[in-house]
């Protein structure tokens, strides 16, 4: 399922909204989540899961093609932990 398919399915169920409204809301949800993670804050969606930001320290890396040593800068990566309800739904 892609984002546009998601918008399509939600639009079918949300009869009193135009597909355009649903599209704006869906895009806003994930933009707002991305902004929260960008600030370094976590997200918790009950029954779905939580997102946390993990810090990766700077390290020396190697270009696998040339063997050259390069500096990999410290970075933040998102980490998802599935919620109990969804975990059980997926494993049924």
């Amino acid at each position: 399922m892609t984002k546009s398919e998601l918008i399509g399915q939600v639009s079918e169920k949300a009869k009193n909204f135009t597909p355009k409204d649903v599209e704006v809301i869906v895009n806003s949800i994930f933009e707002s989540m991305a902004e929260t993670l960008a600030k370094g804050d976590g997200i918790e969606i009950r029954g779905f899961g939580s997102f946390k930001v993990k810090e990766r320290a700077a390290r020396k890396g190697r270009n696998p093609k040339t063997g050259e040593t390069i500096d990999v800068a410290a970075k933040k990566v998102p980490f998802f932990k599935v919620g109990k309800e969804l975990k059980e739904m997926v494993n049924k």
């Binding site: 399915q9 169920k13 949800i29 707002s32 969606i45 998802f80």
Partner: protein, 92 residues
């Protein structure tokens, strides 16, 4: 950030009632959950992809008792963040 905060962040932007936005946000997460429960992946462009992975049974150990046991085959949810999300999180 919780689901309520997501609604709060987006409802004035879309010019709809808070209650209505809340209903659609709820539907969005429910739709994603039911799609994943069917074993189908959900791709949210510029955010990330949720995939259901089949795990094989493997030998494990109860860390409390030290007893050998078999970890049963199961389906787990994995999240791979998009490059766009990681870039947003690491822009200076």
């Amino acid at each position: 950030m919780t689901k309520a905060d997501i609604v709060e962040n987006i409802f004035d932007k879309v010019g709809l009632l808070k209650k209505d936005v809340s209903d659609v946000v709820e539907l969005v997460f429910e739709t994603i959950k039911h799609t994943l429960a069917k074993g189908e992946e959900v791709k949210l462009s510029s955010f990330g992809t949720f995939t259901v992975k089949q795990k094989r049974p493997r030998r494990g150990r109860n860390p409390k008792t030290g007893q050998d046991m078999t970890i049963t085959a199961r389906k787990v949810l994995s999240f791979k963040s998009s490059h766009i999300l990681r870039d947003i999180m690491n822009r200076k």
